[in-house]
Assembly symmetry: C2
Homo-oligomer: 257 residues x 2
DNA sequence: TCTATTGTTACTTTAGGGGTAACAAATGTA
DNA sequence: TACATTTGTTACCCCTAAAGTAACAATAGA
């Protein structure tokens, strides 16, 4: 059993670029002040056949001084100098790398965290995922009872587990769904039923905000369904807007069972 | 052939602790700003099967941000932050290692670069090595013609190739050796012939200074021969002392052929 | 439903570092 | 001078990490 060199020290020296045996040998020499290779081996456990090459490598790195003779004596260079040298080289390297990276014309992209999903199956799967991950609160807005009806069972479960708010444009359309609904004011209802963007009519099948963190907007663009997933920080803002609409816009409060 | 990421940049990032493929992927992302895994693969050449795990590893290290979706998009964290983080961790490690090394009670050893040789053959071999390595100047002092005579041929060669100064305590003793000698003053001669250290008589068979860099002192301690090899910086000082002795002490100048 | 793309897994190869045994050279002793 | 001991070196083996490839599973789009 070799008397241990502090394993943490060896680990730190490895992080600084030395191999395990180099770290042991150097630490051993620091401890012994001046020593033969055999003494370094006996203290540190570095194999005797390896210790000569390792000390030679350390010498070539400038971390160890050698006194030729038989036996050869080795002496550690002052740790302050060794660590200083390692730090300097690392710094030089870091600055150079930073310059090279900066030359790659780095710019933080400004695009918000938005993804488009264009397949029907993908949209439904993602909606279901979002519903599955709700913890505290879910806000739903819909103008399409057929689409919303697909998630009736999911929503029934959520009623029990979190604060569920479902807002629709027209209560009459959703009376076949056994859930509690709120209705937006007529003005807003008319607004969402008459959305045109670039000559294409949009209808908002579903807009969901989960826990104020993530939202998905499912809409028809012309005759193509598309979903957009949106994350922080816009979502919280949208959430507040919708709450405000609830309070200020005024709308018929009705429920169906 | 993949469009190369600057190999020097990759090498620098490796020195900073990233693997080769991690460095390539990170640099690729910095260059692309925001990209899919396939785009990173196409730019950098990192194998497509590897690139997902590598980007995930970089993400866990905090060097890359991930936007979930299909496909997943990746974005590089600002290099200034990444390199700053790496430097901070390295610094912490370096300081800790230095503290640990200092706890080993390191002291620069004060012993001068001196080695002892105790075998007759070793002494002769080392003297011969030193004579073989002379370039410009050799200073020899001796009180033992038998010992000095062993190196007559070596010294004859040196006469032609460098500045050779041989000083002896008594010219008469060395007349059988075909070399030019100088004789020390009587006072010094008496001194070296009557050296006692710890009750043991020392006789200086030979003292050699080669090129002002290395010296070997061969002496009898009692009835045991011993050699001491000495290196910088004391040697230059001794050399100057001897030169001064030559000039100031005054000694009979004689030569034998 | 089929095709293309994305993402993952399993396997192989290479290089570097660590360990051991044995040998050559040097030193010390009788 | 010969022998024993110590010093210093070489050859070989093993393991791990990283890199590369082929194939498969999952997902998205038409």
């Amino acid at each position: 059993m070799y008397p241990a060199i502090n394993p943490e020290l060896v680990s730190n020296l490895e992080k600084l670029g030395l191999t395990e045996n180099e770290g042991k040998a150097y630490a051993g020499l620091v401890s012994l002040k001046e020593a033969t290779a055999r003494e370094v081996h006996e203290l540190t456990g570095v194999p005797r056949a390896k210790v000569y090459d390792i000390l030679k490598t350390l010498s070539m790195k400038g971390f160890v001084e050698v006194r030729q003779g038989s036996p050869v004596y080795f002496r550690a260079v002052d740790p302050k100098h060794v660590i200083g040298r390692i730090k300097d080289e690392f710094f030089t390297c870091a600055i150079e790398a930073l310059d090279q990276l900066n030359e790659l014309s780095y710019e933080i992209p400004r695009s918000s965290p938005v993804w488009c999903i264009q397949s029907e199956w993908g949209i439904r799967k993602r909606v279901r995922e979002i519903l599955d991950n709700v913890r505290d609160e879910l806000i739903v807005f819909s103008t399409n009872p057929e689409f919303l009806g697909e998630f009736e069972s999911d929503l029934k479960k959520l009623e029990k587990n979190c604060r569920l708010i479902i807002i629709v444009d027209d209560l009459k359309k959703f009376k076949g769904i056994p859930l509690d609904f709120k209705e937006v004011g007529k003005e807003f209802g008319d607004f969402v039923r008459n959305l045109f963007i670039d000559g294409v009519q949009y209808t908002e099948d579903c807009f969901i905000i989960a826990d104020g963190k993530e939202s998905i907007a499912v809409h028809m663009a012309g005759d193509k369904r598309e979903a957009v997933v949106i994350r922080l920080p816009m979502v919280c803002h949208l959430q507040k807007l919708i709450y405000n609409w609830l309070v200020e816009g005024g709308f018929t409060i009705g429920t169906h069972q």
